[in-house]
Amino acid sequence: MKIFDATLNQLERSLDVRLLRHNLLSANVANSDTPGFRPKDLDFTAAMASVENHTQNSATLQAVTTVPGQMDLGGVPIGSASPQDAQLSPKDLPVVDIPSNNASLDGNTVDLDRTMVAMAENALQYGASARAASRKLAILKYVVSDGN
């Protein structure tokens, strides 16, 4: 029986991508004084889209056939590995150099303030996705326990 729907999967993926973006931004902050360092970031919406494609491609390869008589509620079978189990790595995502006009004398182009703002926004959105996932699961839990 499948009970976890596509939206939950999407929320899970968004958490992964947000964490990855935090790592990138952290690296930029860490290297704000490193000579010649070029900061990197990823376009979240584009990254999610590319993860979506990645997932769907592997999902079609592992199509789950429905056994006659089994209830098909959509979603991923419990206990089976989800198609997107292949570890997401920065290599798979559109990570780009942040364009900049003002390099300091040593070639470093990290804009610390902008980076910190991006990091704050990213963390906020991460929290929102986590909340949404938590709520959806809470609804499921309530239903599964028959309201007890």
Binding site: I3, A132, K136, G147
Partner: protein, 102 residues
Amino acid sequence: MRTEMDLAFAKINGLDGAERSIEQSPKSPNAAAFAGELDRAIGEVDKLQVEADQQAARVASGGGNLHEMALALEKADVGMRLAVRVRNKVVETYNEIMRMGV
């Protein structure tokens, strides 16, 4: 149908039975009204789940509005709780009626 909805109602043989027998009983205009009302209520709850999912999907893909999503999720939660409560009550009542015999 949303998966939570399916889960809630697919498990309920009682409700299934209740609805069927009500629909089949002759000369009961109230039965049809009741079944219709039930359908409508289920539809409402379903809409709330769908809206919540859409809001969540929007935030997950990078856009969306955080407080809209939060409100939609809470409404879906409340709606589902109400539906489960109602379902439990209906099943309970149906069983009682069946026990009474006629």
